[in-house]
């Protein structure tokens, strides 16, 4: 007689449901980005998503010799779109192709207990920023809509719309001069998915509602940055201006909402996530204060991703029923 062991029921939530929850979380950011930068955002993200799932399928099918579950990881689409979120709207249409390849490479890179070594889209952003610094920092004025189908934007046209990002102001020892509101609404220049802080807050709310995110990590990261910025201000501005400029500029919101809730590259334990976010916040602050201009946040996240299995090892909770044994020891 064939026997089955308990449980005999299974939760209805599958990993595809989780991937769809994340996909829905991208929608507010995507919509706002299209409003700010035009239809080219859709083209870039579509290419990113399609190439990512395509490359992932091919990689799993041929490199990893998986046949059963090779085509079902919807999360690849999310990673592809998230990788595009760190590009400017002026990025050439071949860039999502490279970012997708990088995403798939990082997605399948394992080191310890099936943990990924690096967050796939942060890995892509970091590599592209190093490999194509000019393309990745060619930020343009909001509402300057470019063609959705031009492979690359004509440099003469592009030069007329280039602006400095809030992060560049900090690098120059200054702060973004138009204040916090444009940064909250995404009217300051920057990458596609990194500018609209309020849209990202909506995404975070959705993820929290669906229990796919942990507020501890996101809040700890932002508060660490905020407090350190208030404690150690620099630039020719009051500490409060400096603090909000640090928190609202660059990829801070993007990291807080998405990268810190990418479960496969951060510690699973709450305490581990707290430690992870705390160290990330401190390192990002130090990098902005001392080495401004470049989005060091990406590299810091990658560094922390690499050590997250060790953080997890140290923060695994003790079983509740181990109390007596502990007392005896």
């Amino acid at each position: 007689m064939k026997k089955f062991a308990h449980p005999f029921i299974h939760s209805a939530e599958t990993r595809t449901d989780i991937a769809i929850d994340f996909m829905l979380a991208l929608i507010p950011v995507l919509i706002w980005s299209v409003y700010i930068f035009g239809a080219r955002v859709i083209t870039l993200c579509l290419l990113g998503g399609v190439f990512s799932i395509g490359f992932d399928y091919l990689f799993q099918h041929f490199a990893l010799k998986r046949t059963k579950d090779a085509s079902v990881d919807v999360m690849s689409i999310n990673y592809g779109i998230l990788a595009c979120f760190s590009m400017p709207v002026s990025a050439p249409l071949w860039l999502p192709l490279i970012s997708s390849a990088l995403v798939v490479f990082a997605k399948n890179l394992r080191v310890y207990r099936q943990k990924r070594l690096f967050n796939p889209y942060i890995f892509s952003a970091a590599v592209l920023n190093i490999a194509f610094p000019k393309l990745m920092t060619a930020f343009t004025k909001p509402f300057a809509y470019f063609s959705a189908f031009d492979i690359s934007i004509d440099s003469r046209l592009l030069n007329g719309y280039l602006v400095r990002s809030p992060l560049m102001y900090i690098a120059d020892g200054s702060v973004y001069e138009d204040g916090a509101v444009p940064q909250l609404f995404g009217y300051a220049s920057g990458a596609l998915g990194e500018i609209a802080i309020l849209a990202m807050c909506l995404s975070l709310c959705w993820l929290l509602y669906k229990k796919q995110a942990d507020l501890t990590a996101s809040a700890t990261f932002v508060f660490t940055l905020l407090i350190l910025s208030l404690m150690f201000p620099s630039a020719d501005a009051e500490s409060a201006y400096f603090a909000y400029s640090i928190v609202l500029s660059g990829a801070i919101g993007f990291i807080a909402v998405f990268a810190l809730n990418e479960s496969r590259t951060v510690p699973i334990t709450s305490l581990g996530r707290l430690a992870f976010a705390l160290v990330c916040g401190a390192l990002v602050f130090a990098s902005r204060k001392f080495f401004g201009g470049y989005e060091w946040g990406y590299l810091i996240i990658l560094l922390m991703n690499a050590i997250s299995p060790f953080i997890e090892e140290f923060t695994v909770q003790k079983p509740y029923n181990a109390i007596k044994n502990r007392k005896k020891e």
Partner: protein
């Protein structure tokens, strides 16, 4: 106030049959009482028995025939031994004891314990003889917990007993409080069982002695969860609720003790829910040790792709041939195949573990902490979105035992 506790899972489907009374099944189902430990037979195979005939002794507990028919001796089924009776469908009954006349206030521990032994009362949670549980838990018990929770949201046995047998339930709880010289009794139930809660609350006259605790609706209700919810403390490995001064019994146990003493009849019937995964089924009053398959077939819940699970879809087990002493629910479950994917480190297994383990750590590496501390509740495997057989990986021998 709803008492919360960490761990456990919310199961999707609730019982559709909470409003249906217990139907008494007579039929001609064979019954089998599982042989556990030292057993001596008072009759020979082929002898005729009436309902209530004393036909065996098991570890000092007299065993009575729950149906009239022919004693078939000891039979084997799936590696277990049973004392089987072929049910004749007749209703003749023997009465060996007088109805209780002593008031509860005059009863002592030894008296109640002896009556529980003579009347063959078994605990519906653990399947152990009540008299043995009382003997082992004599000193230092301050609270009696009567577990009125269900084993599965599809079940409504205990909720229904709270409504239909309120007086016996309260009386049984008072008997056990008296027996163990405890200071209070608590009926624990799911907070969404409103009818049961009001039936109990309305009938409790001495609120300093008895109370109702409403627990968060999360399954399974292990003693670990109940203790944590009520007393905000944890049971250490090897520790029993009695070590914390808490004595836990099933609702049916309290009812069985009270009714048996009041009527002078041993416990010969059980109250169970028989249902399918759609929540449709029946609440039944059946003879102890009744054969399970005929119940499922008569409830039209059997087909080629189903099998019967006892008590819970989370931490229950495949049904044996006959109803065991701790079975309260029989669920007909569809066989399902699931594809296993790799871990996505979502941490959901950690969130639902009642003992605070990190079940994902079993993947790719054997973790002795997990093996030693796991209570095999099955929550981690239930919740895993990648369908990883975590429980079987943590403790293959443990799940083997529970099958």
């Amino acid at each position: 106030m709803v008492l919360k506790f960490s761990g456990g899972v919310s199961l999707p489907k609730q019982s559709n049959i909470i409003s249906s009374s217990f139907l008494k099944t007579v039929g001609n189902c064979r019954v089998g009482i599982e042989v556990k430990g030292k057993t001596s037979l008072a009759l020979r195979a082929g002898d005729r028995v009436s309902r209530g005939t004393h036909f065996a002794n098991m570890n000092g507990t007299p065993i009575f025939a729950p149906v009239a028919g022919v004693f078939e001796g000891v039979i084997d089924s799936n590696g277990k031994k049973y004392l089987a009776i072929k049910n004749s469908g007749e209703t003749d009954e023997v009465r060996l004891f007088k109805p209780e006349e002593k008031p509860i206030s005059e009863m002592e521990l030894d008296y109640i314990t002896e009556r529980a032994r003579l009347l063959s009362v078994f605990d519906s949670r653990t399947g152990n003889p009540l008299w043995k549980m009382l003997t082992e838990a004599k000193d230092g018990i301050h609270t009696i917990v009567v577990d009125c929770t269900e084993t599965d949201p599809l079940s409504s046995t205990n909720a229904r007993l709270c409504i239909e047998k309120t007086k016996s339930l309260l009386g049984g709880a008072k008997l056990i409080i008296k027996a163990l010289n405890a200071s209070r009794g608590v009926f624990v139930t799911e907070h969404n069982k409103k009818e049961s809660i009001s039936a109990l609350s309305e009938n409790i006259s001495d609120t300093s002695l008895l109370s109702v605790a409403r627990l968060d609706t999360k399954y399974p209700y292990t003693e670990v969860n109940i203790i944590r919810a009520l007393f905000v403390t944890d049971l250490a490995i090897g520790e029993k609720p009695t070590d914390k001064g808490v004595f836990i019994i099933g609702a049916e146990t309290a009812i069985a003790l009270y009714d048996a003493m009041l009527e002078g009849m041993p416990q010969m019937d059980r109250y169970i829910t028989v249902c399918g995964e759609d929540g449709k089924g029946f609440n039944l009053k059946v003879p102890k040790g009744v054969a399970i398959e005929p119940l499922i077939v008569s409830a039209k819940l059997k087909n080629e792709s189903t099998f019967s699970v006892i008590n819970s879809r989370i931490n229950g087990h495949i049904s044996e041939r006959f109803l065991s002493e701790n079975a309260r629910t029989v669920i007909s479950v569809e066989k399902k195949e699931r594809t296993v994917y790799e871990c996505i480190s979502c941490g959901k297994c950690v969130a639902v573990c009642p003992v605070g383990l990190s079940p994902y750590r079993v993947i790719g590496k054997r973790d002795t902490t997990l093996v030693n501390h796991c209570i095999a509740c099955g929550c981690c495997e239930f919740i895993c979105p990648s369908n990883i057989p975590l429980l079987k990986m943590i403790s293959p021998e443990n799940t083997e035992v529970q099958r």
